[in-house]
């Protein structure tokens, strides 16, 4: 078990309401989970709390128990134990830039260098991650001259280079064109071979086919948790506005639930 939440609530400093309300769930290695909900539902907060960034960097108060890779990320010793073991990717690439690298290679190497790995190990990991992320040809470029899409793939390489035991990705394809987004999503199940991968996103149309599990949040509480076809194909998902486009169309066409959640699924159901 990679992450376990037991009755977790979280409130940002100065906020009137909790951003997470009594959340209880667990993420397992080998599983790709989509965390989704309407805007402000608490998906990003859940990722930050799992990483211990909330409350340590964001401020605020957390109640309940969180166990990430065996430790509580809110404690000092927990954070030290987790250094470099959680791969977090945020939606905006340029604010994740280290701020001190002059080449893409050095940018990707920032994390491993900070962890004190020896140079040969760093070189090997950086080389491999840049290859997987498709940015090897950008190695000597200045990161500040890249496009949003290129930069996001570089940041992804930077996260992979640290060989984390858990991936927490917040809208990882926000800056990517459809082809690149598809490539990134296709990579997720490979990443999940022996780790948990959690993606917070509203891109349900494309992710429905790729993930193993969907957790839906509303106003900080878990409202659904299960396989994509069940959660996203339910009438409730359409009502909440979190269902894929195909499901919405099926609903409007008068088809009874559960709705298909992808074009391929719809084709299978109605072409027989």
């Amino acid at each position: 078990m990679s992450v376990r939440f037991a009755g977790v609530s979280f409130r940002y400093p100065g906020a009137d309401e909790d951003a997470l309300r009594n959340v209880t769930l667990a993420f397992q290695p080998g599983e790709v989970t989509l965390l989704t909900g309407t805007s402000g539902a608490g998906c990003s907060t859940l990722l930050l709390t799992a990483a211990g960034l909330a409350p340590h960097v964001t401020g605020g108060t957390r109640t309940g128990e969180v166990d990430t890779l065996g430790v509580d990320p809110m404690t000092e010793s927990g954070r030290q134990a987790l250094a470099g073991r959680i791969g977090v990717l945020l939606a905006t690439p340029w604010t994740q830039l280290s701020g001190m690298a002059y080449t893409v290679h050095d940018e990707v190497a920032f994390g491993p260098a900070n962890l004190g790995w020896d140079r040969e190990e760093i070189r090997a990991h950086v080389h491999e991650s840049m290859k997987v992320a498709g940015v090897s040809h950008l190695a000597q470029r200045d990161p500040r001259t890249l496009s949003g899409g290129e930069l996001q793939r570089v940041m992804f390489a930077g996260v992979m280079a640290m060989a984390p035991d858990l991936y927490l990705l917040d809208e990882p394809a926000a800056e990517l064109d459809p082809a690149a987004a598809g490539d990134l999503y296709a990579m997720l199940s490979t990443l999940a071979l022996d780790r948990a991968v959690v993606v917070a996103s509203t891109d349900v149309d494309r992710l429905a086919e790729v993930v193993d599990r969907v957790v839906e949040l509303e106003h900080g509480a878990v409202v659904a948790d299960g396989p994509p076809a069940v959660v996203l194909g339910a009438a409730a998902a359409v009502e909440r506005g979190t269902a894929p486009t195909v499901a919405v169309i099926a609903h409007r066409a008068g088809v009874p639930p559960d709705y298909p959640t992808s074009v391929a699924m719809a084709a299978r159901r109605w072409s027989a």
């Binding site: 940002y12 400093p13 100065g14 906020a15 960097v57 964001t58 401020g59 701020g99």
Partner: protein, 194 residues
Amino acid sequence: MVRLSARLLALIPLAVGINLAMGKFASTLSLPVFLDTVGTVLVAALAGPGAAVLTGAVSQTVFTVVDGKLMWLAFMPIQLGVAVYAGLAARAGVFRSAWRAGAGGLGLGVLAATLSWPISLLLFGGVTASGVSLIATILTALHIPVAWAVYGASLATDLLDKTISFMLVFTILQSLPSRTVARFPLAARARGRA
């Protein structure tokens, strides 16, 4: 060596950026001030004198590099003095009202001029920033001794610069939304409300 938090590591470079960018606004508005300590004073109010001192030190160093003139490094004591003064002033509630901020800025102006005057005079003969040099030249033409001319010029620019800077930081602090202020434990106390 104190371990810096990620929050400060992220904030300080941006605060220095603010220091150096404010000058652009001032010159576009044709104001005879630098406003090059606004970022440092802001950090003092948000995170205390220690963080502000670090901001000031990094700021003076980087300004020296960016401007290409090593002599700016000699004026480090002024940035550090500004940082400590601003941190203590913030604690004392100087940013809770416009009048207090203005008065605090005047006091800082005197301190800054008094610190920079001997450095400018003894090390560089009184010629450093063009504006100050110009005023000093005019004063010497009026037969005022060089030492007093340089002090007078420093005082004139620093009183204006530091008073405007303090009142600007007061205005900025009052405009910040509560949730931003809530992230900096000292900020609520500095501006007088959460």
